[in-house]
């Protein structure tokens, strides 16, 4: 399946991942030291993954736990390097041009402990704005704007430790937008949220993506995130690309493969895909 459907409205490719493979070393067990075995085994986390994302697009990476979604994002955000293959953001190699890549991206970590809990929400955003080299006047304006957009103004001077899960997730998104980056990587932004809060957060993501023309790459294991947010998706399972394309393309491909006629809900498509688990290196379902 091609990376893009024939849509002339979409912009140029700004994120490119070419045949990424990632192995993580397995820690040595204590007994191996006594046996003088010091060579660590390697575990395959990502196997030959490739995708491209165009300007202004919301691209989803979906898969069950352990599929390799976060590792893919960490490679794109320069937190780890690929064992094989290359990845680029605005033409900058994520393994070699770390500083250039970091100038272009925002990373929304849904880990609530990624904030300083003894500081207030505003103090946290001020701290990260300084590290992101946002000029003070601009930072002040942007922080107020983001707090207002995410309905956090009233609690901005409360300590972060008093925030609810939903507020913490909103703060994570606000932080990733501080320096007004072109591309935002979001790691499971609706994780741990109740359906109502997840719905509200999705609406927020959708609105700022449209208003500020942001390119978003989102990982999730919630089908509802994909259905409501993403224009195209990549389905990962056990480190392998199962399929990629628009929801319609994927749905019709699965229907054809499984011989299903009529409507096929996306939840069902997703289940069929993961049960299938026959993987092509470029994302096709193998016959």
């Amino acid at each position: 399946m091609s990376d893009f459907s024939n849509n002339s409205e979409i912009g140029k490719i700004i994120v490119r991942c070419e045949n990424i493979t990632k192995y993580y070393p397995v820690p040595l067990p204590i007994k191996s030291i006594f046996k003088f075995q010091f060579i660590r085994e390697k575990k395959l986390i990502l196997d030959n993954i490739g995708f491209s994302v165009r300007e202004g697009e919301i691209f989803g990476i979906i898969g069950p736990n352990g599929a390799g979604k976060t590792t893919t994002l960490k490679i794109m955000c320069t937190l780890t390097t690929p064992t094989k293959g290359k990845a680029f953001v605005y033409g900058h190699d994520v393994a070699k041009e770390r500083r250039d890549v970091l100038k272009k991206i925002g990373y929304c970590i849904s880990e609530e402990r990624s904030f300083f809990w003894r500081l207030t929400g505003r103090q946290n955003l001020n701290f990260f704005a300084d590290l992101l080299e946002v000029p003070p006047e601009k930072a002040k304006r942007r922080i107020n704007e983001l707090l207002e957009r995410f309905e956090l103004e009233d609690s901005s001077d409360k300590r972060f430790l008093n925030y609810s899960s939903g507020m913490k997730q909103k703060m994570a998104i606000a932080r990733s937008l501080l320096a007004d980056p072109e591309v935002i990587f979001m790691d499971e932004p609706t994780r741990g949220l109740d359906p109502g809060s997840a719905f509200k957060l999705r609406s927020l993501i959708k609105s700022f993506a449209k208003e500020e023309n942001k390119t978003i790459i989102i990982t999730t294991n919630r089908v509802s995130d994909i259905k409501n947010l993403c224009q195209r998706i990549l389905v990962l399972n056990k480190g392998k690309a199962v399929i990629k394309g628009t929801l319609e393309e994927i749905s019709s491909s699965v229907k054809k493969e499984k011989g299903v006629s009529g409507e096929l809900p996306f939840e069902e498509t997703f289940n069929l895909l993961l049960a299938n688990n026959k993987v092509g290196t470029n994302g096709e379902i193998k016959k």
């Binding site: 937190l79 970091l102 701290f127 300084d130």
Partner: protein
Amino acid sequence: MKSKSNLIQTRAIIILRKALAVMKKEFITMISYKLNFLFKLSSIWLSLLVYYFLSKLIDPAVSTQLQPYGGNYFSFVLIGTAFSSYLNVGLDGFSSSIRNAQLTGTLEAVLVTRTRFTTILIFQTLWNFLFASIHVIAYLIFGFAFFESDLGNPDYFAAIVMLLLTILAFSSLGILSGSFILVFKKGTPVNWLFYHLSRFLGGVFYPITVLPEWCQKLAQLLPITHSLRGIRLALLQGYSLSQLHTEVYSLIVFIVILLPVSIICFNLAFRQTRKDGTLCHY
């Protein structure tokens, strides 16, 4: 030419802003734990009491080993203990900053900003040194105000130069220690080796001349030996920088050797953990 100087000025302002941001964050966090702050101050007071009564045991007339430092044991140990806190910060500053960020989960968030990891660590360590300085000042104020301690005729300039060299030498060891924390997450041989050896051989609690000769030779291989001797002589005997040339040159040799080695080791450790994907593990 003008635009180049403007660029340098802008860069300097950005760096200063980052330094202030890190220190402000640390300050807010510190004062949010009010009880801990009070306990730290009271522990200074209590340890001073211990050293004061210990010093009563040592008669200045018989302690010839203390004569080069003015003969007063309390002043000797006060400076030893106060300034050895710089060793602790130097050794532990980098590694504890990394370890804290790994444990609290803030490391990833900080690593994806436009600020170099080493820059953040340096500012964090700078804050630790600043806090250690408050510690040292409190030690000295309490010691000189409430106990029988006397500075004599101190050469402050020489003491400050010695202190800056001390910070650089100890920080080099700290960067080396941080490399171990990045890779092994917990436990660093650098801290273990230098912390315990420095307290034993470095002359914190007693002049190294009381040690066997081979121990005295070994003590010369530790930066703390030169640093404490220099600071004591500057503060208690008023030695000038030219009179402290042996200590100054010794510390410079340590810095010239240790600083590049530790920076290379740290960069290698950072690259390796990024490759292994264990940068934020703990």
